[in-house]
């Protein structure tokens, strides 16, 4: 990620929201860095900004103060979710060849440490004479989440839009949720996560799940920050084979970026199912069986060896 762009984008000005500082300001970066010094002296160079009232005002650039990354939404909002939405994912097993682009995109986006995978791709074979296939698993974002039931402090919670998230500022690290999850979707930060200092210093957001913290549980968050902005989760957009489709069940549509499907048709025509239906967890992740495959199972073996030694 381009650090310079990133930090510039996140600067906020006290009392002034979205700023239009395109005019009359040639060296924006320098201006902001100067403002970081305490007890700045007026430099005489003015910057035009748009105030919250919609007025264009001028501020001396020495008084501009960078504010560190703020979570995009408040903790309370992150716990409620996006009203009127109910997110679902459809994973098409006939398209997966264990490329693991989903996994690396996810690990990168959530600043996960090596070995800590929220998405796992497993070779599955249900019985001796049945065909093997590759099965990516994420958090199932169950409608009856066993993890949420057992959490003693409400650190993991189910939102109105179906997403199950974790408040790492509250998690006490008892790991009961990990024992309760039949899908083994949850991972633990056993040690201090190895993060760049500026990432580690950010206030935690349950929607971005960043930064991960020592002694707390982490897991797939359906990229709640991306969905809030109407974008697809990282695994969906990273997969070149369109394995993952994501959408809103209320709109009855899911998309893998390139193709959009009517969710109910897709599940009906391709006999979609969910994992471990008998447990009554009611997952939000649906699978399409590995029929008429795009790739032979063996094509994924090479990648399995290199990444899973």
């Amino acid at each position: 990620m381009n650090q310079e762009n990133n930090s510039r984008r996140d600067f906020l000005l006290t009392g002034i929201a979205a700023a239009t500082f395109a005019v009359g300001c040639n060296s924006k970066k320098d201006a902001f860095e100067a403002g970081a010094e305490a007890g700045a002296v007026a430099s005489g160079r003015k910057v035009k900004l748009l105030s919250v009232d919609g007025e264009v005002i001028e501020v001396d650039e020495a008084f501009l103060k960078p504010v560190p990354h703020l979570p995009p939404v408040s903790n309370t909002e992150a716990r409620i979710g996006i009203p009127g939405k109910k997110f679902v994912m459809v994973i098409d097993l006939s398209r997966c060849k264990n490329l693991k682009h989903c996994q690396s995109a996810c690990n990168h986006a959530h600043e996960l440490n090596p070995g800590e995978n929220w998405i796992k791709v497993d070779p599955m074979q249900n019985a001796d004479h049945t065909a093997p296939y590759w099965e990516p698993t994420t958090c199932m974002h169950c409608d009856e989440p066993p993890c949420v039931k057992v959490c003693p402090v409400d650190a993991t919670f189910k939102r109105e839009d179906g997403i199950v998230l974790i408040d790492s500022d509250r998690c006490i690290g008892c790991r009961f949720c990990m024992a309760a999850c039949p899908y083994s979707a949850r991972v633990f930060n056993w040690g201090e996560p190895d993060l760049p200092a500026e990432v580690a210093a950010q206030p935690y957001s349950a929607e971005t799940s960043i930064p991960q913290k020592k002694g707390t549980v982490g897991k797939c968050d359906f990229c709640a920050d991306m969905t809030r902005e109407g974008m697809l989760p990282h695994c969906v957009s990273a997969c070149p084979n369109g394995v993952f489709a994501f959408g809103d069940i209320n709109e009855d549509s899911v998309t893998n970026g390139a193709e959009t499907f009517r969710f109910s048709d897709l599940i009906r025509d391709k006999a979609g199912y969910r994992l471990m239906e008998d447990l009554g967890t009611k997952p939000s992740v649906y699978y399409l069986p590995p029929v008429s495959r795009n790739f032979p199972f063996e094509s994924g073996l090479e990648n399995d060896k290199t990444q899973n030694s």
Partner: protein, 409 residues
């Protein structure tokens, strides 16, 4: 005592390392996310149940011969419940947020149930140790010269209000009776809820309706085992042959037989029916226990923890103090490994394959820090028992006197 303190200090150092670097110093990883800390926690909770057995059940059932053993049982119960609470904090990834349990606690989580009942049990156990002590402390206060100055002040602080009037005796008798009645359901709850930490999940080996009763049976067994071990040691150390007689060993031996057969019965229930069905999700787990990686430990725990002690104690010669002591040690050691087998093998058999993870995640052997903390906690519990046994009379003086009078009449 020096040795015990040293082991505790090593454990404390290991815990300092764990606080500093995180649970990464343990061998626990995403699959085996509960290891010997939780096994040890279950072990302590189990042992603590004995207080309620010897004190309350015997008392309510009118079993008189048990009264010299009540103090030992209560001391063990208090020490064990203290370390059960400590070890659960040790297992937490973020112990500095312990207070969240009180701020954000949600009654639907079995962990909160456990917090509530363990706290309740702790206070009842302390009171059950304290109330019967009061008349004894009055007696101790008479020996001002032979008591150290500080100890004398301590005795006065906790017990000088006790004058031994008939009114006080009546009140104390009533209070003890209420506590004895109250502690039995609490004791059953504490261990049932602990078993539910496992049984409320879907995992093979834990998803069992037998778990509550299975845990309670095991708890009474290990608790009784711990009491006979302590009886033997205190009897030797303080020459209490007059009070802890061979008859006590004889009777405790019989109780141990009964309890191990009961636990064996629940084990049969727990393993035989799933073994008969061999459900796909449980087959690998059961094979691992019966004939796989865990088989040596599994059969060791069954043989040492139940079958061999039963065989020893079935014979009259086996119910002499020394063989009873040996059987007790076997029961306790077997029970510790049994708790380990309840926790860990299940976690190594998840529903989805343990595939896309580092190789170290697929097996578990505790790190030195885990061993040090676990041994430290065991040593700490023994230290509390030793200290309490030095401060307080190990045989309830007043009760023994009263009972001797009764039998004389």
């Amino acid at each position: 005592m020096g040795v015990l303190t040293a082991i505790c200090l090593v454990g404390l150092y290991a815990y300092y390392r764990q606080l500093r670097y995180g649970l990464i110093v343990t061998s626990m990883r995403d699959y085996v996310s509960w290891g010997i800390y939780i096994s040890n926690f279950v072990f302590f909770v189990a042992i603590s149940l004995v207080g309620s057995l010897i004190t309350a059940v015997f008392r309510l059932a009118g079993v008189k011969w048990g009264s010299p053993l009540t103090r030992i049982a209560e001391i063990i119960a208090v020490a064990a419940i203290i370390f059960a609470s400590l070890i659960i904090i040790v297992d937490m990834g973020s112990p500095e947020r312990f207070y969240n349990l009180f701020i954000y606690g949600r009654i639907q989580s079995p962990i909160i149930w456990d917090v509530i009942v363990i706290t309740t049990y702790f206070f009842i156990s302390i009171l059950l140790l304290y109330y019967p002590l009061l008349p004894d402390i009055q007696i101790l206060l008479r020996f001002k010269e032979s008591t150290g100055k500080r100890l004398y002040r301590f005795y006065s602080f906790i017990g000088s209000f006790w004058k031994g009037t008939a009114e006080q005796f009546e009140l104390s008798e009533k209070a003890i009776n209420i506590l004895c009645i109250a502690i039995i359901p609490v004791a059953f709850t504490i261990h049932t809820v602990t078993s539910w930490l496992f049984a409320t999940t879907y995992r093979p080996g834990w998803d069992s309706t037998n778990f509550g009763a299975y845990f309670i049976a095991g708890a009474f067994l290990v608790g009784a085992g711990a009491v006979v071990v302590a009886m033997y040691i205190f009897r030797r150390a303080y020459h209490l042959e007059k009070y802890i007689t061979e008859n006590h060993f004889e009777k405790m031996g019989r109780i141990l037989v009964l309890l191990s057969l009961l636990y064996l019965y629940f084990n049969m229930n727990e393993f035989l029916t799933p073994f008969f069905k061999m459900k796909e999700s449980e087959a690998a787990y059961l094979n691992g226990l019966f004939s796989g990686n865990f088989a040596p430990l599994f059969w060791f725990a069954i043989l040492t923890g139940m079958i061999v002690p039963t065989l020893i104690l079935l014979f009259k010669k086996g119910r002499k103090p020394l063989p009873v002591f040996i059987a007790g040690v076997m029961v306790v050691v077997g029970a510790w490994f049994k708790r380990y087998l309840i926790v860990t093998p299940t976690l190594l058999h998840p529903f989805l394959p343990m595939h896309d993870v580092p190789a170290s995640y697929r097996h578990y052997f505790p790190s030195w820090e885990e061993w040090a903390i676990t041994l430290g906690s065991l040593a700490g519990a023994m230290l509390i028992i030793t200290v309490l046994a030095r401060i307080f009379p190990i045989i309830p003086i007043q009760e023994t006197i009263t009972e001797q009078h009764e039998t004389a009449e």
